[in-house]
Symmetry: C2
Subunit: 242 residues, 2 copies
C-alpha cells in the first residue's frame, strides 16, 4: 500500500514539474530554449557577518576571496563557494565545479540561453535557488536569493557569478530578463567572480533586485521565470543603442 | 557689488547646468536626444494615507480616480494630479496639463526619446523629480520619487503616467533605461493613468524600483540619467524576442 502511495506521489510530482515546464516554455521563447525548473533550498549558511572580514579588507583596496577559515596557507586554494552550506572544503579553482556538483548536488546546464524557473517564491527568507550554467567554455553560478535585508521586508536578489577569477569575469556580460503582464525588466552586467561572495554582491547592490510586489507581478502561480543569456563582452557602446 | 555677486552666481549655475547636460549627452545617445536637467522638489504633499480610500475601492473592483476631497459632484471633473502639492483645484482632464504648467510650473518637453537627468539624488526623502513629456499626441507625467517605504531605507521609484484615462494609457508602452559602469537596467511597461495616483503605483510595485546602492551604481556625481522612450503598444510578443 505504501509502495502504491509513493508511486502515486511520484507521478503527481512528475505531472506538476511537466506542467511548470510547459508554462515556462509558453512564457519564454518557444525556439528550443532550455527551461530549467529550480527548487528552493532553505539557506542554512546565511549569517550577515559571514563576509565582514572580506568586506572590510575590500574597503581597504584589493579583492580578497571570501575566506571562512583563517588557516588558508596555499594562496591558490579557494574555499567552497556554495552559497547554501557552511563547508570546510577548500581546493583549487578548477575543481570547484565538481565539488559543487558532487558534494552539494547543484545541477549544471548547458546552453547560451536558458530559462531559470524558480518555484515556490512564497517560501520565507532566507531561501536560495541555485544552478550552475556551462557556457562559452566556462561555468557560471546563478543565484536567486530571498533575503530580509531590512527586517520584515524580504527582497529577491538575482546574480550570475563566474566560477573563475574577477579578471576572467570581466570578459563576459550576462543578461537576466523578466517578462510578464506587459511588463519587462532587464538587467545586464558583468558577472562577478565566485571569489567574491554573494553577500558582498548584495550589499553592493550589483545585481537584479526585486521587492515582493514586483516579484509577484512577474510570477505565475508562485513561480518566477528568468531568461538568462551570456555573451562575451565587447566594448560597451551603450550610447549608440539608446 | 551685490549685483556682481548675483551675476557671478548665475554664470556659475549656467556652467554647472551646461556641464551636467554635456555629461548626460556623453552617457546617452549622441544622436540628437534631448537631455533635460530636472531639479528635485521636496514633496510637501506626501502622506502615506493619501490614497487609502481609493485603494480600498480599487480592491472592490473598478478604478476610481484618486480623490482628495469628497465634494466631487461632476464625475467628469478630476482633481489636480500634481504629485508635489496638495491643491484644491479640480477640472476636466483636458485642462490638467495647462494647470500643471501654469500653477505648478512643471516643464513640458517634446520628443519620442528624451534623457531625464535627475540632479541631487542625495537629498533626503521625500523628494520628487517631475517633468511632463509630450509625445505621440499625448502628454505624459514622468515621476521619479525618493521615498522611505521602509523607515530609514529610502528607495527610488520611477514611472510614467499618461495624462488621460486608463483605457487610453493601455495604448502605449514606455521604457526607462539606466546605463552606466557596464551595467544596464531596463523597465518596460504600460503607463498608468494619472487618475490613479503615484502612491498606489508605488504600493503595487508597478514601476522601476531602485534601492540606494543600485541608484549610486548608475549615478554620476549625484545625478541619475534615465533614458525614456514611448511607443504605441503592439500585441506583446515577448516569446519571440527572448
Amino acid at each position: 500500500m505504501l509502495f502504491f502511495t509513493q508511486c502515486f506521489g511520484a507521478v503527481l510530482d512528475l505531472i506538476h514539474l511537466r506542467f511548470q515546464h510547459y508554462k515556462a516554455k509558453r512564457v519564454f521563447s518557444a525556439a528550443g530554449q532550455l527551461v530549467c525548473v529550480v527548487n528552493p533550498t532553505h539557506s542554512l549558511k546565511y549569517a550577515p557577518t559571514r563576509c565582514a572580514v572580506a568586506q572590510t579588507s575590500a574597503e581597504q583596496g584589493g579583492l580578497p576571496p571570501c575566506h571562512h577559515h583563517e588557516a588558508v596557507h596555499d594562496p591558490q586554494l579557494v574555499p567552497c563557494t556554495c552559497p547554501l552550506f557552511s563547508c570546510p572544503w577548500e581546493g583549487h579553482l578548477e575543481v570547484v565545479v565538481s565539488h559543487l556538483r558532487q558534494t552539494h548536488r547543484i545541477n549544471i546546464l548547458q546552453g547560451a540561453e536558458i530559462v531559470f524557473l524558480a518555484t515556490d517564491m512564497h517560501l520565507p527568507a532566507p531561501t536560495d535557488w541555485i544552478i550552475m550554467h556551462s557556457c562559452l567554455g566556462h561555468q557560471f553560478l546563478l543565484v536567486l536569493r530571498k533575503q530580509e535585508k531590512y527586517e520584515g521586508h524580504p527582497q529577491f536578489f538575482a546574480m550570475m557569478m563566474l566560477i573563475g577569477t574577477p579578471t576572467q569575469a570581466d570578459n563576459f556580460t550576462y543578461r537576466l530578463e523578466l517578462n510578464r503582464n506587459q511588463r519587462r525588466l532587464k538587467w545586464e552586467a558583468t558577472p562577478r567572480s565566485v571569489l567574491e561572495c554573494v553577500d558582498s554582491v548584495i550589499s553592493d547592490g550589483d545585481c537584479l533586485v526585486l521587492n515582493t510586489s514586483l516579484a509577484q507581478l512577474f510570477s505565475d502561480n508562485g513561480s518566477l521565470a528568468i531568461g538568462i543569456a551570456i555573451t562575451t563582452s565587447k566594448v560597451h557602446n551603450g550610447e549608440a543603442e539608446m
